[in-house]
């Protein structure tokens, strides 16, 4: 069985963001980078599937600058067999259609039985790339899954809807699924697996080899939203903070009455 999992590297969301000089993206110096949270679930599910079917080959793909290879190494240490890095220093400027087209271009005619992506990326959050890849490859796709089983050439999954409701759905493979938070419990790479991962194949190709389409949208500008008017920010010693909060509860709410 051939499996593909697509991952993205994103900044730690607790970082102090600054708008870049270009005004169209965040400044990417001084940020801590990690794997898109949703993609950790995608990798875990792909690795579990690989363990289930035995004879299989699992490729992890990531589009981005050199630094994304660090995140790819984590994917290899979690159990992916090989990595394909699409080297692109300007991946942050690519729209979801371009990113999806590159992934589809790579995956076309390679015989992947299953493709896993995250449901959305934490920085851009378009929730489009996975579904677009499937449509470009003419494959059935199931988005936002919180449960996955594979048996008899079919995927059975649960899609998460609003308010705790789920939908049971199934489709034949080849297929693509997009993974939602809580789908499984992503494993931590162990030290022996981190060592083993160093010997795994991690190829790079240039973005120009896969990019054959033009963007359908672009960023005009990026900026900080306004804070709620009148919102109070308290800082300082925790003892004082506790006293201030209690005073506020007394003055502004009826809960301590």
């Amino acid at each position: 069985m051939k499996i593909l999992v697509c991952i993205k590297q994103v900044p730690d969301m607790e970082s102090k963001f600054k708008v870049a000089a270009s005004g169209t993206w965040y400044d990417d110096s001084d940020l801590a980078w990690r794997m898109n949270e949703y993609d950790e679930y995608a990798i875990e599910q792909a690795v579990q599937l690989k363990e289930q079917v035995g004879d299989s080959d699992l490729t992890v793909l990531c589009i981005g600058p050199q630094r994304v290879k660090e995140t790819m190494k984590k994917a290899l240490a979690m159990g992916c067999d090989r990595g394909l890095h699409v080297a692109d220093d300007n991946s942050h400027q690519k729209d979801p259609f371009e990113i999806a087209s590159m992934i589809a271009e790579f995956a076309r005619n390679k015989g992947f039985d299953l493709i896993f992506t995250g449901m959305q990326s934490q920085d851009r959050g378009s929730a489009q790339v996975g579904v677009l890849v499937a449509e470009l490859l003419n494959l059935p796709s199931i988005s936002t899954i919180v449960d996955f089983t594979f048996a008899g050439g079919r995927v059975s999954a649960k899609r998460e809807l609003e308010g705790g409701l789920k939908a049971r759905v199934s489709c034949a493979t080849p297929a693509l699924v997009t993974c939602q938070l809580g789908l499984n419990t992503p494993r931590y790479p162990t030290l022996p697996n981190i060592m083993k991962a160093k010997k795994k194949e991690l190829l790079s190709v240039e973005v120009s080899e896969l990019l054959k389409v033009e963007a359908r949208q672009e960023t005009g500008k990026i900026y900080f939203p306004e804070k709620k008017a009148g919102g109070l920010v308290l800082e300082g010693d925790v003892n004082d903070l506790a006293d201030q909060l209690i005073q506020i509860l007394k003055d502004k709410t009826a809960v301590l009455a």
Partner: protein, 304 residues
């Protein structure tokens, strides 16, 4: 400008977000028509043309078939903009339709400024203006972002539609969330724990503060996904919607899906180490502090 609004239907009911689409079109001053795979027994209150496919035949969820139904209507109506809710139905169907149209799809739109859609970036810490390069546009709207300025009225002119497109993904029914647990929707005071609690043992702290305030404790999704708290405690789009007199968010960043569940709270206190956490946008008070220090002291002082 002409818009086509994609209404939603689930479990035999029209979804409330459908009316947000109507309001959106009105705010843009655009003409609209509506598309729905549903039933003529529960029609939307809408003063316009409704293209209606039967959910009995086409299922409430069937991406390939709904896509074809919608593309047929788009070919006929030629809208400038196709409008979805950014919901589990919308984010699944919109990219398929946009791709088939060769149109840009802008997702999770929170605002339109001078005709330009604005979307959140990085867990809502930043905003992004999107320039669309195609003539036709597909947008999906963040739920609640455009609100409802008036009650829905009218009855639609219904045009029945049908398709024989092949099914790819088979829908096998719904599964309800497990019943039981707490009903947070009635709680007047809620203290919620987020990933910032760090480890499951620290949930007790948050629970302690909730007790001292005579309220219930709630949780954000990662706390529930990690099985540190029961799903009935989860606040947000895929958990409960709450509207207490007081909501205290401890170590919660304020992702859109969490805010959607608690922004109707009367008074919000956030305790967070990150001064720029998006929860600050809606909090009445943001205490910049380590919850592991502040929460126990606060609990002690309240109990004294």
């Amino acid at each position: 400008m002409k818009t086509l609004l994609v209404a939603e239907y689930r479990d035999g009911k029209l979804s409330g977000s459908t009316y947000e689409l109507v309001d959106f079109a009105r705010k843009l001053g655009a003409d609209s028509a509506m598309f729905l795979v549903g039933s003529d027994s529960t029609l939307p209150q809408y003063d316009g043309t409704l293209y209606l496919a039967d959910s009995g035949k086409h299922s409430e969820f069937n991406p390939a078939v709904h896509k074809q139904l919608l593309l047929d209507v788009i070919a006929k109506e030629e809208p400038d903009m196709v409008v979805f809710s950014h919901s589990s139905y919308g984010w699944d169907l919109a990219p398929r339709v946009a791709l088939a149209l060769g149109a840009a799809h802008v997702s999770e739109v929170v605002e339109i400024v001078d005709g330009v859609p604005v979307v959140p970036v990085c867990n809502s810490k930043l905003r992004r203006e999107v320039r669309v390069k195609t003539a036709q546009t597909v947008v999906s709207l963040q739920s609640g972002a455009f609100g409802l300025s008036s009650d829905p009225v009218g009855s639609p002119r219904v045009g029945k539609i049908d398709s024989n497109a092949a099914t790819q993904v088979v829908f096998g029914g719904y599964e309800e969330a497990e019943a039981g647990g707490v009903d947070l929707s009635k709680a007047e005071i809620i203290v919620s724990a987020g990933r910032g609690i760090g480890k499951p043992e620290n949930l007790a702290m948050v629970e302690g503060l909730a007790k001292a305030l005579k309220g219930e404790y709630g949780a954000s999704r990662p706390v529930v996904d990690s099985e540190w708290a029961d799903h009935s405690r989860q606040v947000g789009t895929t958990g409960q919607t709450v509207s207490p007199k007081l909501y205290v968010a401890c170590g919660i960043s304020g992702a859109i899906q969490h805010l959607a569940g608690m922004k109707k709270s009367e008074f919000v206190i956030a305790i967070n180490t990150d001064k720029d956490a998006p929860i600050g946008e809606i909090a009445d008070v943001l205490a910049v502090a380590d919850l592991k220090q502040l929460v126990p002291i606060l609990t002690e002082k309240l109990s004294a």
